[in-house]
Symmetry: C2
Subunit: 311 residues, 2 copies
């Protein structure tokens, strides 16, 4: 095998937003702030801080203005704190709180778009345009998400071509990067590479990120498959925060420590302190009253406990 | 990506032996028989049935003669039931019970060999020679295992060259296949491909099997990486039976249902009925009083429960 893999990878930490948003418990703002602080200290350079959505729909993010304001007041140097802004109202609130980077969220599946945000894919993209225009005017960076890039909980397999179209539209609107989300974790290395191949015909790989869910334990393999295609940015959630909204008790976002373990082992630099990351996974999991969802965290913590016992 | 993957893969089910041997509880012979019967019914064609080791060291396999005799008396057509035979005494007992296939177990790490079987690698290989000779004389097939093919719990990284040497010796003794074991699960796609590359310079890939542990959640990625190298035989343990003897609470053998999920999704044929396999994982896990260690089993069972609730 002589496929060369990227030498450096950037991890976008989505635990404080995508993770905590999908937890049943509403976590206090102080805990969120401490989580974000620990993540920055562990070396994460992009930490999604919160979401400017209606607290009626997402009570977990009801403290978005407080969280973002306090995060930015204590911002670590060189760290970006993007926030999710699904519409202009959300964007204006984020901007008022000082946001320097925002993200918009589209789907590659018509049925998912209808059920999740109650409009067609085309309508949702049209709704993002004023956001990206306002962001450009304000000098705010915009990241784009595409969900259901391999499979959809309602309509099954998604055509790679559809993903490519949506991703291209987001880039044409000014998104500097598009994060490709395997929302239900149904992807495998073959279907992920097929999807990436279609997207890369429209968008340079340097503008793409992989966002994989570990529902069926395929995320690490899908990241390896994506690295082989040249993808060098991956979203991950410390401790596997978030779980899977489509199957109670199953895993959701791939755990950041699993991704860093993989990359570190393969000699790929992330700038992240692995041990500090595992500490953070253990700490936030304890705050939520459970063990980390991650195999790596569980194995490393078990080995640490054994070593402590032996001393 | 245009690397072609194998179209068919053979799974060697090691749950009843490698799995149950590493469980603390001693499972009754009747349960083992039922497990093996269900696995054969799900389509597994190679099921490691037991181990002919001293009950003093491995009480979990103390019923080896009873298990093998009863398994062979009710053997499913076209299914092989190999057993582990670490020495001539074990081989003779296995032969007396009717074994048609046996396996010997070497290490690629000197320290592991010393600590695990109390002799050097060379001495252990010399000990296998009478077994392989007696097996050939009796018309019994012999499979070889090599443990610690990437890392060792005592000495860290293992040189791929060392693995190649041990594997070649096993083949030269008459092993029809060599199973390469990442015993502590420390391998990743890069180190696994590097190891395979060294071994494949000595032995045709058609005589190799991958045996990966999921301690750090890397097994599925390592299987994908191995498929890219042409490996088409993998060992797996239903429900992830066995756990990790080197870190209590961590995962051990990759779960058979995870491997079949991966392969099925990528269009690779295994001849295995996925749903029957998940049923078997759920059943044996319940017998052991816990949930399956496998993400795939947990997600599929969670989705089934949700669907049942919706009806």
């Amino acid at each position: 095998m002589s496929i060369s893999l990227p030498q450096h990878v950037r991890i976008v930490e989505v635990g404080p937003r995508d993770g905590l948003q999908n937890e049943k418990q509403v976590v206090p703002a102080d805990t969120k702030l401490e989580l974000i602080r620990r993540l920055a200290e562990a070396g994460l350079k992009t930490i999604e801080a919160t979401s400017f959505v209606s607290p009626k729909w997402v009570p977990q993010m009801g403290d978005n203005t407080e969280v973002l304001t306090r995060v930015l007041a204590a911002a670590a140097p060189g760290v970006d704190y993007p926030v999710l802004t699904p519409n202009l109202k959300g964007f204006e609130a984020a901007l008022a709180a000082g946001a320097k980077e925002v993200a918009v969220f589209g789907a590659a599946s018509e049925s998912f778009s209808q059920k999740n945000i109650n409009c067609s894919i085309a309508e949702s993209l049209a709704r993002f345009r004023p956001v990206t225009e306002a962001a450009q005017a304000a000098g705010v960076k915009v990241r784009g998400y595409v969900s259901c890039v391999v499979g959809c909980p309602y309509e099954g397999e998604i055509a790679p071509q559809k993903v490519a179209e949506v991703a291209e539209t987001l880039v044409s609107m000014g998104c500097y990067e598009v994060s490709l989300g395997d929302t239900i974790g149904s992807g495998n290395p073959v279907t992920v590479q097929r999807m990436l191949d279609a997207v890369m015909r429209r968008i340079p790989v340097t503008q793409l990120a992989g966002h994989y869910h570990d529902t069926y334990g395929m995320a690490v393999a899908n990241i390896f498959a994506s690295l082989q295609m040249g993808v060098a940015v991956f979203d991950a959630s410390v401790g596997g925060l978030g779980g899977c909204p489509y199957a109670a008790g199953a895993s959701g976002n791939v755990a950041t420590e699993d991704v860093v373990w993989l990359l570190k082992g393969m000699g790929i630099d992330t700038g992240i302190d692995f041990d500090a990351l595992v500490d953070t996974a253990a700490w936030i999991s304890a705050e939520l009253g459970r063990a980390p969802a991650s195999r790596v965290a569980r194995a490393v913590l078990a080995k640490r406990a054994q070593a402590a016992q032996a001393n």
